[in-house]
């Protein structure tokens, strides 16, 4: 009786092995018990659920999902059949997802006037942000180039978000709900600055409800909080 429902962890999640000889109604209560016992163990993990043993139709699978949802905090991302072909497909899909997540972190190229880069995560731009270009990120923004455009970091309200640029000449920086704009420097001043050639990487962050821009130093970095 104890082995009528077995929870086995698999490569991408959990496999539920069900006794083929038992009725679905009986199995349901056993599944509920099993998951209640192990809900602490699983926590809030994202899991893929697979079934083995007794064949379940879609509505039965749905019922099992509801049971799992009611007794645990597991987030079942999808259901897979334990067969090789699907397994391969799933792996391919997972790899794809990782690849796109990676490319979201890095953006290569110059953001030109009128172009907007929006990301849910922090972002590193390998290139310049030109005047009229804009980055909106819920996390931090690092520009490995000349930042001349507009940046909005911590777009979800994160006041610990920061902006780093190798050459910091932004039009506007917004972090969480605080906004700062560039000084009204004339074009001649801007040209003079460039000719000085002492370009220092700079960081912008919020302190005391104001945005500060400072040279990137060890001390400043130590004060940075990353959530």
């Amino acid at each position: 009786m104890d082995n009528a429902v077995i929870i086995k962890s698999s490569k991408h999640g959990i496999t539920l092995i069900l006794d083929e000889s038992m009725e679905f109604e009986e199995l349901k209560s056993l599944i509920k018990n099993k998951f209640e016992q192990s809900s602490k163990f699983f926590g809030e993990a994202d899991m893929v659920l697979a079934f083995e043993g007794k064949k379940l139709d879609v509505s039965m699978q749905q019922e099992v999902l509801e049971i799992i949802g009611s007794v645990t905090s597991i987030n079942v991302t999808c259901i897979v059949d334990e067969d090789e072909e699907l397994d391969a497909k799933f792996n391919a899909a997972k790899d794809k997802k990782n690849a796109s997540a990676a490319s979201e972190l890095f953006y290569k190229g110059t953001l030109r006037a009128g172009q907007i880069l929006e990301t849910e995560s922090s972002v590193i731009v390998l290139g310049d942000v030109n005047p009229g270009g804009k980055i909106v990120s819920k996390g931090n923004v690092v520009v490995l180039g000349n930042l001349r455009g507009t940046v909005y970091a911590g777009a979800g309200g994160n006041e610990n978000a920061f902006v780093v640029a190798l050459d910091m000449n932004p039009m506007q920086i917004k972090i969480a709900d605080t906004i700062a704009r560039s000084s009204d420097s004339t074009f001649v001043k801007v040209m003079k600055k460039k000719k000085d050639k002492d370009i220092q990487p700079k960081i912008a962050y919020i302190y005391d409800a104001n945005i500060y821009v400072e040279d990137l130093s060890q001390e400043v970095l130590e004060d940075i909080k990353i959530d």
Partner: protein
């Protein structure tokens, strides 16, 4: 195979049409067979700058609507027999042509048995339908800007759109109307300052030159004459056909230039 080059800028009044007229004429003077297409429907100017306005019978919209054959609408230049102009309509607007129709026209010109070396498209200002029509069939873009922040901003926007259209790395920059005396006084951006933002291949810089005004009013492109602008345009043409040409020293005094151009003239 003909190469299709669009001359574009975003902002108006920076010299797209003048550049198109001079480059078209210059390439023809270098022995290439060239057709220039004015895509600025409703505000055509290229015919005026070339002094060919009085010869227009049919235009691009007539071709697209099937009122005439392409050959009937093409005007042979009065100076260069290898140079042709396909004007557009003055009494219609940009919506009279679609990008698909534009591609069809270009494909038909490409298929011409007498084979054109270059098809040069004069793009209207803006980023709307007229721009979309002009870039639709292009293989390469010449982005024209002046050393002013507004022109550079618009050029930057245009480059973003050209990149998205698949012309990335096929864009060259022409910095027009540069005044070295002002650059030296730090009152105007230098070519480097301009390209610091745009980051394109600079295919040429054309100095601000009175002879352009004179030439435009006469309907006679100044390319190839001994004015500074004329030489700068000819150098751009040589670079387009793949020659390595050193950049003009725009700081040079006119006297030196006269000498230099007479040297070129002997070749």
């Amino acid at each position: 195979m003909s190469e299709v080059i669009v001359v574009t800028s975003g902002k108006g009044g920076v010299g797209k049409t003048t550049t198109t007229a001079n480059i078209g004429t210059g390439l023809a003077k270098l022995g290439k067979k060239v057709v220039m297409i004015d895509t600025d429907t409703g505000l055509r100017n290229l015919d005026v700058v070339l002094g060919l306005e009085n010869r227009i019978v049919y235009n691009l919209v007539d071709v697209v609507e099937g009122n005439c054959r392409i050959k009937q609408a093409m005007i042979t230049d009065k100076r260069c027999p290898k140079l042709y102009l396909l004007p557009t309509a003055q009494t219609r607007d940009k919506s009279a042509i679609t990008p698909e129709q534009m591609i069809k026209v270009i494909d038909e010109i490409k298929a011409d048995p007498e084979e054109f070396d270059y098809i040069i498209l004069d793009c209207p200002a803006g980023i709307e339908q007229g721009f979309q029509n002009a870039i639709a069939g292009a293989d390469r873009a010449l982005v024209v800007t002046t050393p002013e922040v507004s022109a550079i901003r618009d050029a930057d926007r245009i480059v973003g759109l050209l990149d998205a259209h698949g012309l990335k790395d096929h864009e060259d920059l022409i910095v027009n109307r540069i005044r070295m005396d002002m650059v030296n006084r730090n009152e105007m951006m230098s070519i480097d300052d301009v390209n610091d933002i745009l980051q394109l291949n600079v295919i040429g810089a054309v100095p601000d030159d009175e002879s352009i005004v004179v030439a435009t009013n006469k309907g006679q492109p100044c390319v190839g004459d001994d004015s500074m602008a004329g030489q700068a345009y000819m150098n751009i043409c040589r670079r387009i056909i793949g020659e390595e040409v050193p950049f003009l020293d725009l700081n040079a005094k006119n006297g030196f230039f006269k000498k230099l151009s007479s040297l070129f003239g002997k070749k």
